[in-house]
């Protein structure tokens, strides 16, 4: 067991820190959450800076340990997170890199890395959430095109996306996992309608995407027809790897701020509150170590995120909600004031036990795939 980093890893960290200290003061101000074009420009601009400095592909070709260091240091320095580049860098990009043809890789990957194009994800549907394989958006072959009709939901950044990684049903007669195909759909195609969805936090974070006879060239298909489910698994395992590294770092900072606020408010004498924060510190220390453990496992297995991802996500999503419940306790009556810090975070933390696989689905995955319990239903 070794928690130390190799000299070249420490060197990577030192160079990154130096670069962050140099460029972060030159960043423009953060746009407001409602300003979609502003957010797009800001996030793409940051990706372009990463590209120019040689960090653009860190999510793809760096070792798991370097990825961990990158996410840790950028968060500690207060750098922007991937934002609108999320799907391009962490979903669609890795899928295209793994499953695309040389021509597809040359066409779509450089614009993602250079911060020129935004991707969104068209997987979930109103009637296909946890049960994603039951998706019904239909694609019918017509010459060199697929003609797509249906609707997608929970699509982040749809308003400003150039491309959508889309799962469609190409063979309704086949067993449900075997009739699905992965397509890259241009968002400006005729028949695409985007309707923003407000979250309970009041922000327009998601959208519904309606598809009415949208023509997508067959050349935009990644992988074979009806092999989209397997292609997708590449993407999903990526998401559960190091996706939350920066957030754990951020949660530990919030916890220190909560302790400071409690002290300033003269509440540090309350043993119950104090110990609650102490126990949360234990929780996030453990989550950080679990991340390092999972990264070491991935390192040993050649970069493939292992089953540890589901264990981590279950624990982390719950811990994050507990953190903001404690924040509400520290805030007292101010926890009902949307203009106070942490109040919006408390609201958005509610999505963590739902998004990217509900806690219930994750527990079933852990029980069946890791513990080997018989399949239920």
């Amino acid at each position: 067991m070794d928690l130390s980093y190799a000299p070249e890893e420490e060197e990577f960290r030192a160079r990154l820190r130096e670069w962050l200290a140099e460029v972060l003061p030159t960043l423009p101000g953060k746009p407001s959450p409602d300003d979609w074009p502003g957010r797009r420009a800001y996030d793409l601009g940051w990706q372009r800076m990463l590209y120019d400095a040689g960090y653009a592909g860190v999510h793809w070709d760096a070792s798991p340990t370097l990825r961990l260091i990158f996410l840790e240091e950028t968060e500690k320095a207060g750098a922007p997170y991937v934002g609108a580049n999320f799907v391009g860098l962490l979903h669609a990009g890795p899928t295209i890199a793994a499953e695309g043809t040389p021509g597809q890789r040359a066409r779509w990957l450089p614009p993602i890395l250079r911060g020129e194009q935004v991707w969104c994800q068209g997987f979930s549907e109103p009637d296909a959430g946890s049960d994603l394989a039951s998706l019904r958006t239909r694609a019918r072959r017509d010459g060199d095109d697929y003609v797509v009709t249906g609707s997608k939901i929970w699509t982040s950044h749809a308003e400003v996306a150039d491309w959508c990684e889309l799962l469609v049903r190409t063979d309704p007669a086949a067993p449900r996992h075997r009739g699905i195909t992965w397509l890259a759909m241009p968002m400006d195609a005729e028949g695409v309608t985007v309707r923003p969805l407000r979250t309970l936090a009041g922000s327009p974070e998601f959208a519904e995407v309606f598809l009415d006879e949208v023509r997508v060239p067959v050349a935009n298909r990644v992988g074979e027809e009806n092999d989209g489910w397997r292609v997708t698994q590449v993407t999903l395992s990526f998401e559960r790897g190091t996706a939350f590294v920066g957030e754990v770092v951020a949660c530990r900072r919030v916890l220190r701020e909560l302790a400071r606020t409690a002290r300033e408010d003269g509440r540090w004498g309350e043993p119950e509150l104090r110990r609650r924060l102490g126990r949360l510190d234990a929780e996030f220390r453990a989550l950080w170590r679990l991340t390092q453990w999972n990264v070491s496992e991935a390192e040993a297995s050649g970069g493939v995120p292992g089953a540890g991802g589901s264990v981590f996500k279950l624990r982390y999503s719950h811990a994050r909600q507990e953190l903001y419940e404690a924040a509400a306790e520290v805030l007292g009556p101010d926890c009902l004031d949307l203009d106070r810090p942490w109040v919006l975070d408390r609201l958005s933390s509610l999505s963590y036990t739902i998004a990217a696989g509900t806690s219930q689905i994750q527990r079933t995955i852990v029980a069946e795939r890791i513990l080997g319990l018989p399949r239920g239903r």
């Binding site: 067991m1 340990t65 102490g278 126990r279 510190d281 029980a367 080997g372 018989p374």
Partner: protein, 335 residues
């Protein structure tokens, strides 16, 4: 980063597991349950020979010369196997109390207001004068309560107390103060305040390691039972309500494992405190959930589940319970 077991560490763990299965299998476990308070001296010396107590002593002092991570792996296995005896006190006394390292001397230690295995011990660290036997909830851990009121004269009883230090020799029937409390020795013994005195971080870490062993074992027991037990024509492990209990068992155990192993590497008191909090929770809640998965069988004396829960309760009281750890971490947060 290589935060995983080295080949040597994996071999050590496998070796200890094999030794304990051979020397303290299920039959020996149940025999120990039927003879509460009796310590198997033959087994104890075998543990000594295997290096159980001398593990962290330098080789020049006749020890094995290994570190905290290896000690953690060994104590995890001990916890897993429900190995009885004052393992922690004897391990910590190795190199200080003559004979502890080899397993010849069995050492108990006063921990706050409780002492495990006092009657079976040859030596006791800390002041156990006036200790009164409890009817221990755990059939595998005899307990005494230290009840001497401050200022009362110590009554010599039981094993001879030895002061810490390499030159320590039994000094006669007078209790000596525990280490870390510098009061003059004499007939008046002051039991350490369970809240004020910070527990030894190594003791806290090895307790966490034992709890981790329990957490891992109860997860295995729950899964084994859920696979084997049939109701409504299928294994109960096919029901999501049971599946999710088992998944939570694994999540708690694996999160605690990362915290315990990391604390063994850093030896940082705050990391150790965090590891202990997580491991206590994983062991106590894990044993309770395992009991629940076992249904009616879980409530019987014959099933081993209750032994894990009761031992987890005993360990969770060490060092005055969880308050210390939470306070230590809170102080670190605010500092």
């Amino acid at each position: 980063m290589r935060f995983r077991l080295t080949d040597d560490q994996a071999a050590l763990r496998a070796g200890v597991r094999e030794l304990l299965e051979r020397r303290f299998g299920r039959q020996a476990l149940r025999a120990a349950v039927d003879a509460p308070g009796r310590l198997d001296r033959v087994l104890w010396r075998a543990l000594g020979e295997a290096g159980f107590f001398a593990l962290r002593l330098p080789e020049r002092d006749g020890g094995v010369g290994l570190g905290l991570p290896e000690a953690v792996l060994v104590f995890e296995e001990a916890g897993r196997a429900l190995l009885p005896g004052p393992l922690l006190a004897t391990h910590l006394a190795a190199g200080t109390v003559p004979g502890a390292a080899s397993g010849e001397t069995v050492v108990a230690a006063v921990d706050g207001e409780l002492v495990e295995w006092l009657d079976a011990a040859d030596a006791v660290r800390g002041d156990a004068s006036g200790a009164v036997a409890l009817r221990s909830v755990d059939p595998l851990t005899p307990l005494h309560r230290v009840t001497a009121p401050p200022g009362a004269a110590a009554v010599p009883r039981g094993p001879i107390a030895v002061p810490p230090g390499p030159e320590a020799v039994p000094t006669g029937p007078v209790a000596a103060p525990p280490d870390a409390v510098s009061v003059p020795s004499g007939p008046v013994a002051v039991p350490p305040d369970p809240v004020a005195a910070p527990p030894d971080p190594v003791a806290v870490l090895l307790t966490a390691a034992e709890q981790l062993g329990t957490a891992g074992r109860v997860c295995e027991l729950a899964v084994e039972h859920a696979r084997a037990r049939q109701q409504f024509g299928r294994p109960i492990g096919a029901f999501q309500a049971v599946q999710h209990l088992c998944a939570d068992l694994l999540v708690r155990a694996e999160t605690a494992r990362a915290a315990v192993y990391a604390a063994a590497v850093t030896a940082d008191p705050a990391d150790i405190a965090a590891a202990r909090l997580l491991a206590d929770e994983a062991a106590v809640q894990g044993a309770r959930d395992c009991l629940q998965v076992h249904g009616g069988m879980g409530f019987t004396w014959e099933a081993d589940v209750h032994l894990h829960l009761k031992r987890a309760w005993v360990r969770a009281r060490r060092g005055g319970g969880s308050a210390h750890g939470a306070e230590l971490l809170a102080a670190a947060l605010a500092g």
